[in-house]
Amino acid sequence: MSTDLEAVTRLVIETLAANPKVTKTVTGETVIVDDLGLDSLAVMNFVMEIEDKLDVSVPLDRLADIRTINDLARCLAELKAVA
């Protein structure tokens, strides 16, 4: 599980780094909205990219509770584990 979480965290950070709107260095502690300046739509669209890579869907109610990259990675890893 921890390896999966690490791999998912890496995938999230790599995907964000490739996003032209993101100019700052992204770490696990990065707060997605406040630190990266993404609006709600940009966050949902970015999550869609990751969903395809992992073949999971993140329900919007779960997304509402996510603040940091680590939160997102944990959520994705959990969804992937039960998929």
Partner: protein, 402 residues
């Protein structure tokens, strides 16, 4: 810290728009002279930013019906549908809408927003899943929030992505409700409804279509995209509004579901708000009758839609992917969009300024819409104003298609 401090970044962004010109969010239409002409800041303008698709907001028969109803039944019902606000008029409008759609049942809501809020929240309970198009209107997103269901977003107008997400749900218990719109309000594009209906059939999901912008606009009789796509039997719930083609205000849902009536005592946005006033019900009924008996209104609308879309496209503007009564022009950035919008207004053309994140991609839009009432020369005047403004701002090419 102020309770409004959380909006300080937005307030700053809004303040910065003041330097470019008039604040689009403080615009006041002082008078609507007709379906196509109004007065803004004491100046006459051509209205190309309404949703008055059939031009019925100023229809003499609708106005007369409304005036008669207010005298006969009073200015308001002072109550909710479930307690003390159901008049005979509400029942008659519901029966007429059900008849128009050939459906068993209809419920009328006080606004279109509440119709989506009510239907999504009441249909999808905590063990169910809502699957909504990514570009859905705010009322659909808010309906999702009010429901306790799991909410999954699929890529805009992408039946394959919808299918993939339904497959991912596997044998998750509970009902699945797919939500799409007939015409999307920002770009005027339609859902590929036949393909979405096929996915719905294959997966055993339910389908709700919001025909807010397509009611009175699409389909042989004006019933919307479900009629135009020939899949009415696959659409379990149709939601719509009176505030566009019917020129008043209010929302509705029609369905053939045999148990539909239970929603009258379970749907909170239906139950706990004042019902529509008699004058609104009366003009809405008259407008529905006009829609049914005057298909030429729809023909005029489409003639104008083609004229505006083709004219702007020929002038080099980047317009939406499909011809529709909504014709949106993409702008390179917010300052350019605000400046363009201001200059159009100075030239006597009122359109809507749509800014991200309300727009589908990162770019702002100048959103125009035509009505059945526009005359060809009014449409041509709007196109000429777009061209002159682009030249004045030195924007002839940047925002444009090849």
């Amino acid at each position: 810290m102020s309770i409004l401090a959380k909006f300080s970044a937005l307030a700053e962004a809004r303040e910065s728009l003041q330097h470019v010109g008039r604040d689009p969010f403080r615009l006041v239409i002082e008078q609507a002279l007709s379906a196509t002409e109004g007065v803004i800041d004491g100046q006459p303008v051509l209205l190309f930013g309404t949703n008055n698709y059939l031009g019925l907001s100023q229809d003499p028969a609708c106005l007369a019906a409304s005036a008669e109803a207010v005298r006969e039944h009073g200015s308001g019902t002072t109550g909710s549908r479930i307690a003390n606000g159901t008049y005979g008029l509400h029942g008659r409008l519901e029966a007429e809408l059900a008849d128009f759609y050939g459906r068993r049942s209809c419920m009328v809501f006080t606004t279109g927003y509440q119709a989506n809020l009510g239907m999504l929240s009441v249909l999808a309970g905590k063990d169910d899943t809502l699957l909504i198009d990514a570009d859905s209107h705010a009322s659909i997103y808010d309906g999702c929030r009010l429901s306790q269901a799991q909410v999954v977003r699929f890529r805009h107008n992408d039946p394959d992505d919808l299918y993939k997400r339904l497959r991912r749900l596997g044998d998750t218990p509970g009902s699945k409700l797919v939500v799409t719109e007939g015409i999307y309000s920002m770009l005027g594009d339609s859902a590929p409804l036949a393909e979405i209906a096929a996915v719905k059939r294959e997966t055993g999901a339910y389908l709700l279509v919001d025909e807010a912008h397509s009611f009175g606009v699409l389909g042989e009789t004006g019933r919307g995209l479900a009629e135009a796509a020939g899949v009415e039997a696959d659409v379990d719930f149709i939601v719509g509004t009176f505030s566009k083609s019917l020129g008043s205000v209010g929302g509705y849902c029609v369905s053939d579901h045999p148990g539909f009536d239970i929603l009258r005592v379970t749907c909170r946005p239906y139950m706990f708000t004042a019902s529509l006033p008699p004058a609104v019900i009366a003009s809405t009924r008259a407008a529905l009758a006009r829609l049914r008996e005057s298909p030429e209104l729809r023909q005029h609308l489409w003639t104008n839609a083609h004229r505006l879309h083709a004219g702007l496209r020929a002038a080099g503007f980047e317009v939406g992917p499909q011809v529709s009564p909504i014709v949106s022009v993409a702008m390179p950035d917010i300052p350019a969009a605000v400046a363009f919008w201001n200059q159009l207004l100075a030239r006597g053309i009122y359109v809507n300024l749509s800014l991200p994140p309300a727009t589908p991609d990162e770019r702002p839009l100048l959103r125009s819409s035509v009505t059945a009432s526009h005359k060809p020369e009014q449409v041509d005047a709007a196109i000429a104003a777009f061209v002159a403004t682009a030249e004045a701002l030195g924007l002839q090419q940047p925002a444009l298609v090849d």
